[in-house]
């Protein structure tokens, strides 16, 4: 059992300190994910509070056999971020930002991005993303951060649906191989 899943197990028993430790390990990444989707500090923080709240309440249902704690938290945070964006009717704006984001090889402009230490794993991931053909990366990021389906992406980019499907599949396979090789997980 990983350290993370032990924490979740302790949370299921009502151990609040375990929740604090889980936050220390994943809070910043979840905030970054939420911020990338919702684009506002206050909303991103609300998503983080909700995400860890849901993890706290759902800790007993977490099954380490079905994936890592990080992937579990990310799924919650992404879903809640997209819900918030939709509830606020801000989808168009978010897509605009996602489009800027994918056209740029660097991180999105982010006033909060100061004094951040990137660990080895995340720079490996960044190298992988940069190495990916731009078109594949764009399709993947529009889906993940923009919440678009493949046909919505095809319509937005004016490309055939089959092309988008291929880009997503090939791009994700490439990333997966790369992350495995780099020992990201």
């Amino acid at each position: 059992m990983t350290e993370d899943s032990l924490l979740v197990q302790r949370m299921a028993n009502g151990d609040e300190r375990a929740l604090g430790e889980l936050y220390d390990r994943h809070g910043r990444v979840m905030y970054t994910l939420a911020y990338a989707i919702v684009g506002e500090r206050a909303d991103a923080e609300e998503v983080v509070v909700d995400t860890f709240g849901q993890a706290w309440r759902g800790a007993a249902q977490f099954d380490p056999g079905r994936g890592s704690v990080g992937a579990w938290l990310s799924t919650i945070a992404r879903t809640r971020s997209l819900d918030l964006v939709r509830a606020r009717g801000r989808r168009a704006r978010v897509l605009e930002r996602a489009a800027v984001f994918v056209n740029d090889d660097t991180a999105p402009p982010n006033p909060a991005d100061r004094g951040v230490e990137r660990n080895e794993a995340s720079s490996a991931v960044r190298r992988g993303l940069v190495a990916l053909p731009t078109a594949q990366r764009q399709a993947i990021e529009l889906a993940y951060f923009g919440g678009l389906s493949q046909s919505e992406i095809a319509a937005k980019l004016g490309e055939p649906l089959g092309t988008i499907k291929t880009r997503i599949r090939d791009g994700m396979k490439k990333l997966r191989e790369l992350f495995t090789k780099e020992g990201v997980r």
């Binding site: 905030y31 809640r80 990137r118 991931v125 993303l129 993940y144 919440g147």
Partner: protein
Amino acid sequence: MSGHEQLDQAAAYALGALDAAERAAFEAHLVTCAECRAEVQAFRETAAQLVAGAGGATPSDDLRERVLAEARRVQPIRTARRFSAAWLAAAAGFVLALLLGSAWWRERGERRELATRVAEQDQLLTSLLAPDVSVANLAASGRPPSARLFWDAKRLRVVVAVFNLPPAAAGRTYQLWAIAKGQAPVSVGTFNTSADGTVRTVFPAPPGVAFDLTAVTEEPAGGSPQPTQNPFLVGPLGLRSE
């Protein structure tokens, strides 16, 4: 990677990028296909790494405490001693309606929306059942419509239930106002009723709001900075919070 064509959809599924019909078909397939389940799991891990491409961002220092405070808040609902039997019956009816609503959503298979609705309803119930919440009954002169407002000053939420109010015409909306003595009305938010003339909704309270009266007007879509007509629903706030 040999195998069946569904396997090709695993990456898109893990990214949340399948269209609704494709997703339903793929999920049906997942139930019986361990190979696709493993594939989805692996791609979910890949997807969770994508955030590294979004650069780092630093949350406020107090976020950790907010996360812990939220967890402490989640505990069994205490007995609402200050509520009369009639209130409890009304609340029970409300809960039943919410549960039926939830069941309907679940049947739609829209788990994501269900989660959002449950969270909203959590908020709504917390505010309805809080012992220190202020209540206003908004009445029109003569017949219905009517409305009831709950002001949860501690959690900065305003819950409103409206009855017998036909939906606003196209291009129009209803707007809820908070009015403190001797001050200009402050907009709490806009809403519209459904075809059956009711709506229940939760508004985050505008910063620093305080009010003695609450009122509803009809305004152009998007709402107005100040009311453009006399309110057709007005009520004083009772049971002031501490």
